[in-house]
């Protein structure tokens, strides 16, 4: 039902810690949950050459990203015993130190939450068409690539 429609994943700019708190608080009514695993990606101030990353500018191919994210979601519900899961990713500029990815997996027992969360994050990195342009202090830039 709600699991079947494409969820809203993309958030303009950084993901706010307050948004994360509100998401957690909403789960207090789901009393069958025993374990949450939350992964947060944060933009690093990596140094390339002698220049420090100040921000990453994210872009996506949204219809494809939404298809792949729905597949990732459905695979997670098939493979693990989950109560619910939520994925949010930033689009646009996110400064170093700010959150750009929020994956929130909830299950009865901890094993499912841990394994599903890690699997989902690896798939997001490998398969979802999202690009990141690292912006340096002098406003020059370089395209990032996931390992």
């Amino acid at each position: 039902m709600t699991e079947k429609k494409k969820p809203n994943v993309f958030v303009e700019g950084a993901i706010n810690p307050q948004f994360i708190a509100d998401s957690i608080a909403k789960h207090s009514s789901k009393k069958g949950i025993g374990a949450h695993d939350i992964f947060l990606g944060q933009v690093r101030n990596d140094v390339l050459g002698d220049k420090e990353v100040k921000a990453i500018e994210y872009s996506t191919y949204q219809p494809m990203a939404e298809d792949i994210l729905l597949e990732i979601r459905e695979a997670a519900f098939r493979e693990y015993n989950l109560v619910c899961m939520h994925i949010y990713h930033s689009i646009g500029r996110v400064d170093a130190g700010e959150i750009c990815l929020f994956v929130f997996v909830s299950s009865k027992h901890r094993k499912d939450a841990f394994e599903a969360c890690r699997s989902i994050v690896e798939k997001i990195k490998a398969d979802v068409p999202i690009w990141g342009k690292e912006i340096f202090e002098d406003e020059t830039s370089a395209w990032k690539e996931n390992r």
């Binding site: 990606g41 990713h89 490998a126 398969d127 068409p129 999202i130 996931n146």
Partner: protein, 77 residues
């Protein structure tokens, strides 16, 4: 027969466009050859190709109205 080609990330920068339309391109190999000729700076770049939002591998036939996207390496998360 017309197809739409979408460029993302560094490909959009190299091509100077997000989107072009092309005629007379029958398959993905022919498309790549055409793009490399048009934008020589793309030659050494890694990419994947998506046809109507699905990644395709190897030579794939194209039809009227297809949307082909040239995807540089992903950097989500």
């Amino acid at each position: 027969m017309e197809i739409t080609v979408l460029f993302f990330g560094l490909f959009a920068e190299a091509a100077g466009a997000d989107k072009i339309t092309l005629k007379g391109i029958n398959d993905t190999d022919m498309l790549i050859q055409h793009l490399m000729d048009s934008y020589p700076s793309l030659w050494d770049k890694k990419y994947r190709i998506a046809l109507n939002t699905r990644v395709v591998n190897g030579k794939t036939s194209l039809s009227e109205g297809d949307v082909v996207a040239l995807l540089p390496p992903f950097a989500g998360g």
